[in-house]
Structures are given as C-alpha cells and as structure tokens.
Amino acid sequence: MKNLLFALWHYRGFVLGSVKREFQSKYRNSMLGAAWTVINPLAMIVVYTVIFSQVMRAKLPGIDSTFAYSIYLCAGILTWGLFSEILGKAQSVFIDNANLLKKVSFPRLCLPIIVVVNALLNFSIIFSLFTLFLVVSDNFPGWVYFAIFPVLFINILFAIGLGISVGVLNVFFRDIGQLFTIILQFWFWLTPIIYPISIIPEQLRVYVELNPMVNIISAYQTILVRGEYPQWQSLWMVLAISLLLCLIGLSLFRKHSGDMVDEL
C-alpha cells in the first residue's frame, strides 16, 4: 500500500498533466469552450424548475423562499452530477485507456485518480457559480455551508469505490458497463433529487432509505435548503459502505490487474 501511494505520488505530474489536457481537449474545437461545463447543468436546472416548481413548491414543507425549489434542485442535481461523472467514467476507464495500458508501464491506479480530479474540477466550476448565486440571492446558509465538504468526501469515496469495482469487472464482462448505464438512470429517479422524499408513501420509505445516495443527497439538501447540519449518524453507515467498496475495488484490482491487459 505504501509502495502504491509512493508510486502514485511519483506520477503526480502525469496525473495533473492528464487532467489539464483532458480539460483542454474537451472544449478544443468548440467556440464557447469551458462555458459548456456551466451551460449543460444550467439548462437541466431551468427545465426542471420551469416544469416542477409549481407542482413541488407546496410539497417542500417549511420553505417558502422564491428560490427554494431551485436551490433544492441544484443541491441534488449538481452533486449527483459529480457522482455520476465519476462512476460513469471510472467504469470504462480501463477500456478507454487500453491503448496506453498496452504500451506503457505505469501505476494503473493513476487512471481512476485522473477521473476523480477531472470530475472535481468540473464540479468546482459549477458549484462555485452556484455558491455565488446563493450569496447574491441572500440564501447563503452561513457556516453550515462548510458541512458540505465531509459529505462530498464520503460521496467521492462511495463513487470511486464503486467505480473501480465496476471498472475492473467491466474489462472482463463488458455487459456490466452497459447494465450500469441503465442502473444509473433508475438510480437517479429512485433518489429524491427532483422530488422531495415526503411524496414517497411512509411504508415504502424504509426501502428507499436503503439507497446510500438518499442519505448523501438529503444531507446536501438539508445543508443548502434548510441551512441546518445534516444528521451525521445517517452518514456513518454510508461511510462504512464506501470504505468497504473501496476495499473491494482495490482487492479486485489487485487480483485481476495482471490479466487486465490481456483482455483489452
């Protein structure tokens, strides 16, 4: 493990360089450039706000700010975006980089790290704009805002643990990648992001809360919409699951990384 971390540190130049190159080349042939990072989620938020805000407003109990639903949406959609970007890219990261893996010898765990850093970069751009909006519209929750960071940490841990596990499996069983794209769709709609959890019937809520993303997303919503600290005890379980997933991911990676290049 120590050797692994040392090797990764040694290749930090490559990791940072790759993040930079990926960011540059993504918008290389577009005229608006990095603005697309913002326009994309913004468009989605506008659509949902226009369609759902009238329907949902009454359903957000105790909140009557004009922007309440928009903030609720952003809290969920932007962070879900981070989660799904990490997961979506990590599950195909080894396949996408087959050319590199076959020709150059380097610590392969650099690749998922590049995915995380890249996703974080995109996220921080859009999220700082959102924060700016909170400040300008006088909805900034104050010190509570910084409770976001431990939640983000757990969120990323969960995403990357799952991502590496799925990424390794995907090399050997390509069906998993296809399947996961579909799962991600259902997962989004089964998590209270667009709608409040209160619209789910009481007797079904127990099952919905088995989904770790429910705890994470509602923590963001509690912080940003209500300006309250999240229920930390609901996140301990998620942290444990995330660490377990990371361990599973690493052991899968260790066990099969040798065969991986042969399958690419």
Binding site: H10, Y11, G13, F14, G17, S18, R21, Q24, S25, R28, N99, L100, L101, K102, K103, V104, S105, F106, F172, F173, S257, G258, D259, V261, D262
Partner: protein, 409 residues
C-alpha cells in the same frame, strides 16, 4: 547503466470455453478452474549485461512482442520474473507510445514524457529538440489522429530518446519509418550505445540486428531456439525460414570460429566450391580488381524440374555486397536428371575493398530460396582481399575514378 535479467519467464493466456465460464469461476467459491492455459512463451531465461545490445528475432507469433511487453511491465508474466537495473527505461512497443488520438502531438509529447518521469520543466526544455529531431514540422500542433503511422513513430522515437535512457527497448518500431528516418534513428541508437545504453531490439531487419547487436536470440514457438552471435543466428533464422517443414538445419564451426549453416532438402547438393585466379590456381587471397573465377560443382541426387544456383558475396559483418543467381542470369536448367554433375564458372573482377569476404551459395527452384530449397550454405567460402598495387582507398567497393582537375583563375 542498465541491465536486464530474465529468469524462467513464461506467459499463458486464459482461455474459457464459454463466456459464462469465467463468471462461474469468479463467483462460485472453491470451484474448479474452468479455463485452460494457452502458453505463448515458456522457460525464457537470459541476461543483458550493462551496455550490451541484444536483438530478438523470430517469425510472427513466436512471442517476441509478448516478451518485450513483460520486460517493460505492461503485461504480467505467468511464471518467472524480470529484474531490471536502470533509472530510465524507454520502450517503443509496436506503434507509438500509447498516444491519445485527440490530443495534439505536443500534448502527447508531454503525456509520454511525464510517463517516462520527466517534469514539465524538463519537457519544455526538451521540446525544441524533440520537434527538430522528429521533423514533423507544423503537425506537432495537430491532433495525433491526423498523423501517418510514420509520423507517429517519428514523434514516439524522438520522445523516448530525448534523453539518453539506460535501457532502450524497441519493438519493430523502426521499420515503420522511411529510409531517411531509419538511418537517423539508428545513428542515434548507435550514439547512445557508445555512451553505455543497453539495447533490446526486436527486428526482422537483418542489417539492423547485425550492425547494432552484440548478441541475438532466436525465438521459435515460444521458446529460445538459439542464442549467440548475430550473424550466426540470422543465418540460422533465414535457413529456418527457407526450411520450415524439414528443420534439418545444420551448423558447423569453420576455421576462423565462424559458423557455417547448411540447410535444405538435399535433392541437389554442393560438392565443391573454389575461388581460382586466371592461372586456374585455387586462391584465398585476392588482389583488388583481380580477375577471379568462382567455380561451384553441384551433384544432382534426384530428378528436379528446375534448378537454380545462386551465390552472395558478403562482407565481414554479413552485409550483402553482391548476389545473383542463374535464374537472373537466364542460365537455369529445366528437368535435371538424377546423378548428373554440373560445374558452374562465374568469372568476375574482384572490384572489392580490402577485407574479409564470404560467399553463401544456394540451390533452389525459381527466383528465390523460399519455395524449394535443395541446399543453402552460408559461409561456404571465405576469402581476403588485399590491395597490392592500387592507390589506397577506403570502402567496400573499388570504383577508381578518372580524375580531372581544372584550375580556373
């Protein structure tokens, strides 16, 4: 200084009977392995000492690339291990260095360079040199997907060798480049060799192996078939190519510790080969420009529809100087009968530079020895050229000029 020690290396790919068997093997605990191992390399052991250059040859599918991949660490060996001493190991596997098609040449240089352990500062400093060496001009700022394979190779080679590596591993890459760049890159490799770089190269190019390597390893169906002096191994390899079915290739040591390789199916054999001067005396020392006669006697052992005799004069390094055959000379025989003795006389002026030369002879049907090879004998004859009375010159050929100098004022 870099060194490589390969011990008992082996590689097997897992083959599963159906798509589901791997899944069953993974998820059912303590289940019997469902895969079969397909061995592509077995029992490979050799050492490359610091500063040594080793060439690896073998037919397609012999396992050369797999071996290099295991040495560079992109593929993990199934058995054995590779031990590498050396700070900087640069490898050019197949084409390119895993360039990303959407990134520009410049971005890819940075990426590959960072993977080689250079910092951004190093690379910014090296960039002009890399650009200049690769000579791809304005393409450097275009995405690599618009590059030709030769251009990719140029760039990859320029990055990999921007700083002298301790160990340079090259897989066939050079053959992609045009003749100009091949020379340029071979020159650079030679230069680095002088400064102590250890070289491991896979090539089908006889010249590259013979002129650059101290030792060659012949791989055949996943094992080391032969290891030794490049010329000897290359001859053996060529003989094997010509003789894939029979495998009756023999090698014997001749007078000056060089190895004579004989192969062939034996329907016709070379009985005798001699070099004579104009007084018909057998000689092994020839004056520059002397008229000589290469006489070869052939015995026919079976009826043959078509018989061609060819010979090739080579220099000390095994590079071809001149070769022809009776097919090209329009003197080949049709329907040769068993028991016949044929005597060939090739008269020519030995317009050669001084040095040691050898003659290889081959008996075959049609224009080359790859179709039917009756006998193929390397180093069948060795002779020396000395300069007795010509004005002194350098090089392999005697091309005396008529010199005129005009002084204008």
């Amino acid at each position: 200084m870099g060194a490589i020690t390969v011990t008992n290396l082996g590689k097997a790919y897992k083959q599963y009977p159906t798509r589901w068997s791997r899944l069953f093997e993974w998820i059912i605990p303590f289940s019997q392995p469902k895969h079969q191992l397909k061995w592509v390399l077995q029992n490979i052991s050799f050492t490359v000492s610091p500063g040594e250059a080793i060439g690896i040859i073998g037919i397609n599918g012999a396992g050369k690339s797999t071996l290099l991949k295991m040495i560079t660490g992109t593929t993990q060996p199934t058995t054995g291990n590779v031990h590498i001493i050396g700070e900087r190991v640069a490898a050019l596997l197949e084409l390119g260095m895993g360039f990303h098609p959407d990134f520009t040449g410049r971005q890819n240089v940075f990426m590959s360079g960072q993977l080689l352990g250079y910092t951004v500062n190093d690379l910014t400093r090296l960039m002009p040199e890399i650009e200049a060496f690769s000579e791809i001009a304005e393409y450097i700022d275009q995405p690599v997907r618009v590059y030709s394979s030769g251009m990719q190779m140029r760039l990859a080679f320029s990055v990999a060798t921007a700083i002298r590596p301790d160990i340079l591993i090259v897989d066939e890459a050079l053959s992609v480049g045009d003749a100009y760049f091949q020379h340029k890159s071979i020159d650079r490799i030679r230069e680095y060799r002088k400064q102590g770089t250890t070289l491991l190269i896979v090539s089908h190019d006889k010249l590259a192996i013979q002129t650059m390597c101290d030792r060659a390893i012949l791989l055949d169906s996943g094992t080391i078939a032969k290891e030794g002096d490049p010329e000897e191994i290359m001859d053996f390899y060529n003989a094997l190519l010509a003789d894939r079915e029979n495998k009756n290739v023999q090698q014997k040591e001749i007078d000056d510790a060089r190895i004579q390789t004989t192969s062939g199916t034996g329907e016709a054999v070379i009985k005798d080969i001699k070099l004579r001067n104009k007084k018909n005396k057998i000689i092994d020392v020839v004056d520059v420009g002397e008229k000589v006669c290469l006489s070869i006697e052939v015995e026919v052992k079976e009826d043959i529809p078509e018989l061609v005799l060819g010979y090739m004069i080579k220099d000390r390094l095994g590079q071809s100087i001149y070769g022809t055959n009776t097919h090209h000379l329009k003197k080949h025989h049709q329907n040769v009968k068993k028991g016949q003795l044929i005597s060939y006389q090739f008269n020519f002026d030995a317009n050669l530079g001084k040095g040691s030369y050898s003659v290889a002879v081959a008996l075959h049907s049609s224009a080359n020895h790859l179709q039917k090879n009756y006998e193929w004998r390397n180093l069948a004859l060795v002779f020396n050229v000395v300069n007795l009375n010509k004005s002194s010159f350098v090089g392999m050929n005697w091309l005396p000029p008529k010199t005129e100098i005009v002084y204008e004022d």
